[in-house]
């Protein structure tokens, strides 16, 4: 009886402690960290209503990043009709940014959208990389270190925007190729990336992310009916440095509108949280199973030893 009461008390105590812990939990302490992005990081607002598809940004990027000369010159607009596996042009090892044309039936003129790395606040490529090849700099760029990359291409699986590309054609010097926000040559000195500087239409606006976001919202407010009431990239996958304004729904210009508002790593946190539990619980649990499963052998062993002792005693008597 005494034992039972003790256990009951113990359970009560345990419950009380748990409840206390739940109530007293400090609101500042959050599980596994939440990152809203660096406060002074830079961003770019892309206004699709202003882009005319001149491809100046593509040319500027090519020159700045010293990428190979393209097969067709930048004033050849037949590239907008190129299709590969039924898909429009995308980034690859020779181009960090491309502009695509979208013919939207509701409006009388085509829209153009520039693709490049969106430089997420909490990038999927970075969080999926097992050799820390990616860095999110305080300036806002997501940069890549080819010296440690092993070429597993998990970042390409993880990126919700299909941005990182791989040099599949190189056996000895393969690497990931992606837009780095002109970090080395411009951004770290506070300068706008080459593509933004080259834009003749001011379709691209460079500035502090918080400020260009505010500017985007202001444009929506000031010109009612012109824009869809959303800045794409404000919340998508935890927020991105590059954001879009559009006059038509974003899925009409090839942007994925089903992306979660949490960073991609949130989908993986369930599993990651389970890992230390398995590491710590399994040893005790399974050694326990072993003791349970082999208990009969043990009992038999003990009884045999006892019988043997008794036999010996009897013999002595």
């Amino acid at each position: 009886m005494n034992k039972l009461l003790n256990r009951r008390n113990f359970l009560k105590g345990g419950l009380a402690t748990t409840a206390a812990a739940a109530v007293l939990k400090n609101s500042d302490t959050q599980a596994a960290g939440h990152f809203d992005g660096y406060p002074d990081s830079m961003g770019v607002l892309v206004d699709l209503t202003r882009c005319v598809g001149c491809r100046s940004c593509e040319a500027a990027c090519n020159k700045e990043q010293q990428l190979p000369e393209p097969a067709k010159p930048y004033d050849d607009f037949s590239v907008f009709d190129e299709m590969h596996h039924g898909q429009k042009r995308r980034t690859d090892e020779t181009r960090y940014t491309v502009v695509n044309r979208y013919d939207v039936p509701e409006i009388d003129h085509p829209l153009f959208r520039k693709i490049q790395c969106n430089h997420c606040a909490e990038p999927a490529c970075l969080t999926s990389c097992f050799v820390n090849a990616y860095t999110k700099t305080p300036e806002g760029a997501v940069i890549y270190n080819p010296k440690v990359c092993v070429g597993c291409r998990n970042c390409m699986i993880a990126c919700p925007f299909y941005i990182p590309t791989f040099k599949f054609s190189h056996a000895f010097t393969p690497r990931i190729m992606k837009c780095i926000f002109c970090y080395d040559t411009r951004l770290k000195d506070g300068k706008a990336p080459a593509c933004v500087e080259a834009c003749p239409q001011e379709a691209l606006t460079f500035g502090k992310r918080t400020e260009v976001l505010e500017m985007g919202k202001q444009r929506i407010r000031m010109t009612p009916g012109k824009y869809v009431n959303h800045v794409y990239g404000e919340h998508e996958v935890g927020g991105t440095a590059w954001m879009y304004l559009s006059s038509v729904p974003f899925d009409k210009v090839g942007l994925d509108t089903h992306l979660p508002n949490e960073p991609i790593i949130y989908s993986v946190k369930d599993f990651l949280a389970m890992v230390p539990m398995v590491l710590t619980i399994w040893p005790g649990l399974f050694v326990g199973f072993h003791l349970l499963a082999t208990r009969k052998d043990k009992i038999k062993e003990l009884e045999d030893a006892k019988n043997k002792k008794n036999d010996e005693k009897e013999e002595q008597v």
Partner: protein
Amino acid sequence: MKLFSKERPEIPIVNHLKEDGTEWTIKEKLWLGLSVSEYKKQFIRNPVNWLMVFIFAIGVPLIIGRYIFGLGWVTHASNDYPWGLFLGFGLFGMVPLSASGFMLGTTVELFGRKDFHSIERLALLNGLLGYFFAVLFLEVDLGMWWRLPYPMFVSLGPAAVLFLVAWHVATYLSVQIAEVLPSFFEWIGWLKGKRAIRKWVLGLTVAGIILSTLHQGALGALFCYAPGKVHPLWLSVNFQWLHFFCSSIFAGLSMVIIASTLIKNFMAWRCDDEFLDNLDYVTIGMAKGASLAMITYLCIKIVAVAHDQEWSYLLTGWGTYYFLELGIAVVLPMCMFAVGIRKHYVTLIRFGAFIAAFGIIWNRLNTSLICFNWQMYQDIPHWKEVWITITLYSLYFLTYRFIVYRMPIVYEWKGER
């Protein structure tokens, strides 16, 4: 070998000593106790070897080409489909089929089911080789394959799922080597080493369970990085690791049933009576375990659909394909196992195991290739990619056969143990 084993009493080798009392040398053991001309004769007579020669004649130059001209030369892996058949089959398919080591290790060493002892070593070997070749597949697929140790020692990204996979596969590979070493030590006759490992067996087994739970699960969790790319029916962010872990249980068991069936039918000369006499009994036992895992798997697959509210997807074409996969890959072999267990139709169980193993590979290919980028276009692997995959798998088969021919895996060493 069948021929020689009938003609000559000392073959196959099961003992350190020959008939005349002298010891076999390691070299003689490697040659299976045959002279070079006899070895050649048995090699040429076996049609499987000719098939292997044909596969390797084309496959080896292709593999060399991959290291000279790059991945682009042999695969259709692209910026949209970064992972192709090497990982889809070689890593995601081979690893669950190699869960056998920890399954039988747990059954025999941890749960004390000594009645499964006769199959334990085959299961351990099956596990070790499967993992080893999964790493080999990875080495063909990695862009900078010479940097394989980087995630361990050079640049660590411990918050990534792949980091877990890398560390767990590496440590588990070491654990499995330790678990298979006793057979090797018996064979070379170094008993000290065997006894030293014997002391560690419980620790190794528990380590095996931990590492297996985590990295089988981690392979599934890798796809949680692509919630927008994998078809929702094949991806459950909350339960993916459980799906992968649970299905690896019946995958591993089915693979041991397959291996033992092949050995029983084509390598009976190598088996001892204990192995052959017990085989039907342990096959039924493993089928019981596998069918329990299968029904659990089916339930948690449905739970995932319910949890993510994906019922409407079941009515689409993808839903039909989903049912087709579950029906052929899980329900059919499960029913075959059930009938086989009740009526003691061991042959039915063996056929079921083949279907279940095929089903697991199908499921992993669905997740990594077929239902990946489901809103985009379908990637079809390059023929060279398929050929290299077959070549590596053939190498796996040859290594497997090489070891089972020699080491005490399906027979008990008659000499000092």
